[in-house]
Every structure is written in structure tokens, then in C-alpha cells.
């Protein structure tokens, strides 16, 4: 699922000033609160690989009221890598990587049309409920613009799923026939 490209995000956070692992994790949670949760272990593992590849370097250790901590900084190569990543356009939808889609295909293979249809209907209900939650997030007066933009992203894709579920419900019988032909 991808991948949200954790290494590049860490490079981006480091571009705003040298930090150590713990700070990076908190900065990530603050800047990308609705993103896939990032574990501490993952931060240190990724930092290790970035250092190995010469994209970050240790900028000294200190012990300010707590355990030792090693601060990392961007190298020139890291800065140019980040720059290149930011300029590069992401390939849009090279393949359909969705559990939703895979599940419906498998349902058509191993079960009958009604089974697939009932799954589509349940999924539509769950999506609709989540959609309501997210629109509530948007209208919350305490919502930041960051929250709203993230919610809009999720809403747009939930809506896409819903429209696909709708048209697929209308085609599921034909589709089943084709699959078992």
C-alpha cells in the first residue's frame, strides 16, 4: 500500500532543520496527522539507510536532560534527492492496487452473484458512514486547513469508491457471467 515514501518525507522534515529520530517522529505526526501511523522503529531504521546512502549525516550527539541522542542533518546529496523527488510527477494509477477491487473479483470467482452483490451493498453502507464522519470533521470549527485538505482527499476517494460500487452493482450479473464463461 503502499508506500507513502517514508524516506523522502523524513528528508523533507530534516530540510526544516537538523533533528534527531524522536523529534522527526513527532514532527511527522504533527504535519501528517491523518497519514499512516509511523512507528519509532521505522524512523530509526529509515534514518540508518539514509545515512548509509549518504543522504543524511550525524550532526553530533548530546545529552540534554535525558538519554543520548544523535542529531541528523541533510547532506548536499540528500537535499538534491529531495529536490528531485519534489519535482518528479507521480505515475498516476499504474495498476489497480485496491483490496476492494480484489475482493469483489475473488467473490465473483468463488461465490455466486448474490454473495458479491451483498458484499457490495455492505461496503457501500460502510463507505457512506465514513463519508458522514469526514464531512463532520470538515465542518468542525476547530478544524485546521490541514485537516480540511486531508479530509477532502479522503472524501474524494470515498466518493470515487461509492460511484464505482454503484456502477458495479448494476453490472455484477453480466460480469459474473463473463468470468464463468
Amino acid at each position: 500500500m503502499g508506500g507513502v515514501s517514508t524516506p523522502h518525507v523524513l528528508l523533507g522534515l530534516l530540510a526544516g532543520g537538523s533533528r534527531h529520530g524522536y523529534e522527526l517522529k513527532r514532527a511527522h505526526d504533527q504535519r501528517l496527522p491523518r497519514a499512516r501511523p509511523l512507528a519509532f522503529g521505522q524512523v530509526y531504521a529509515t534514518l540508518g539507510r539514509l545515512e548509509r546512502d549518504g543522504l543524511v549525516a550525524t550532526a553530533g550527539q548530546d545529552r540534554a536532560s535525558g538519554p543520548d541522542r544523535t542529531t541528523y542533518e541533510l547532506t548536499d546529496e540528500g537535499r538534491s534527492t529531495l529536490d528531485h523527488w519534489l519535482s518528479a510527477v507521480e505515475p498516476p494509477m499504474p495498476y489497480v492496487a485496491s483490496t476492494l477491487f480484489a475482493k469483489v473479483v475473488v467473490a465473483l470467482l468463488v461465490a455466486d452473484v448474490d454473495r458479491a452483490r451483498s458484499y457490495l451493498v455492505s461496503q457501500r453502507a460502510a463507505h457512506t458512514a465514513r463519508l458522514r464522519e469526514l464531512t463532520a470533521v470538515k465542518t468542525d470549527p476547530a478544524a485546521t486547513l490541514n485537516d480540511v485538505v486531508a479530509a477532502d482527499f479522503a472524501i474524494a476517494h470515498l466518493d470515487a469508491d461509492l460511484r464505482w460500487l454503484h456502477t458495479t452493482l448494476g453490472r455484477v450479473a453480466d460480469w459474473h457471467r463473463e468470468v464463468h464463461a
Copy 2:
């Protein structure tokens, strides 16, 4: 984004009859042609884990005009696991796992508004181009219903991205201000 749940798909393909690894890979390519490509190695590794967990079992070996091959079949536990998976509703969008989104956030953090804006515009162009390709796939007279349904899924999500790109372009200045406040 790992996650199209390869194990469950393999269980689904096995539900249509016992097969060996090579056949499973081909069945996968036939049934889910637009899905993330599945390597042979991945099939055997996954089969090994499924066998370890008691969801599939070897149903004998034979050597019919070729090298040895071990056929796998679903166990009862595997069948019920598959059944459970098919019945379970997928959690809709628990978090925003999109490189697109992450990249725009990072762009706003490390660069200025124009940089973010120009990225959004380039990405919109790429998406629009891909959208044209996919609508061409749909109108191709040789397209199967399977192709059309998969294309529709991709089209719906490309459209979702495009609408998000559009509204975000209008908010990027405000967003940048909030991020740097």
C-alpha cells in the same frame, strides 16, 4: 501500500480447484490483469506461509511432462478464512496513504507556494493524460467487461485526485500560510 492481501487472493484462486504455484501465478494474471504484478517468488513464499498456518495443504506431487510440481489444496480452515475475508467489510480510508498528498505537504514545508503550485499543475496534466488513456481502453471494442470494470475503478480514483488537485490549487496559498504560522 502493500496491501491487496495477496494471501487471500491466492486462497480465492485455490477455491476454484487445487493448483500448483505456477498455475496460481497465471490464474492471477488472467483474473486480475490490471493488478499490481505478482512475482513467482512471491507466490511460493506466500504458499509456504499459508501451508505453515494450516490454510492450504500439499495435495501430492507429480511430474507431468516437466519438472516436479507440488499441488496445493484448500484446507477447511483455509476455506473458512476465505469465507470470513469475503464477508468482512474493508475499513474505508482509515488514513490518507497517498504519495500525492505527502508530496504536497512536504513541498509546502520545504519550498514556497509557487513550487507547490507548479507541482500540482504538473500532476494534474499527468493525471489528465492517464485519464484519456483509460477512457480509450474502455471504448476499445476488444475490451472485456473485466477490463471495463477495472478501468472504471482507476478512472473514478483519477477523477478523485483531479478534483482534489483542483480545490487544493485554490487553497494552497492559505494552506502555506497556516503551515508556516
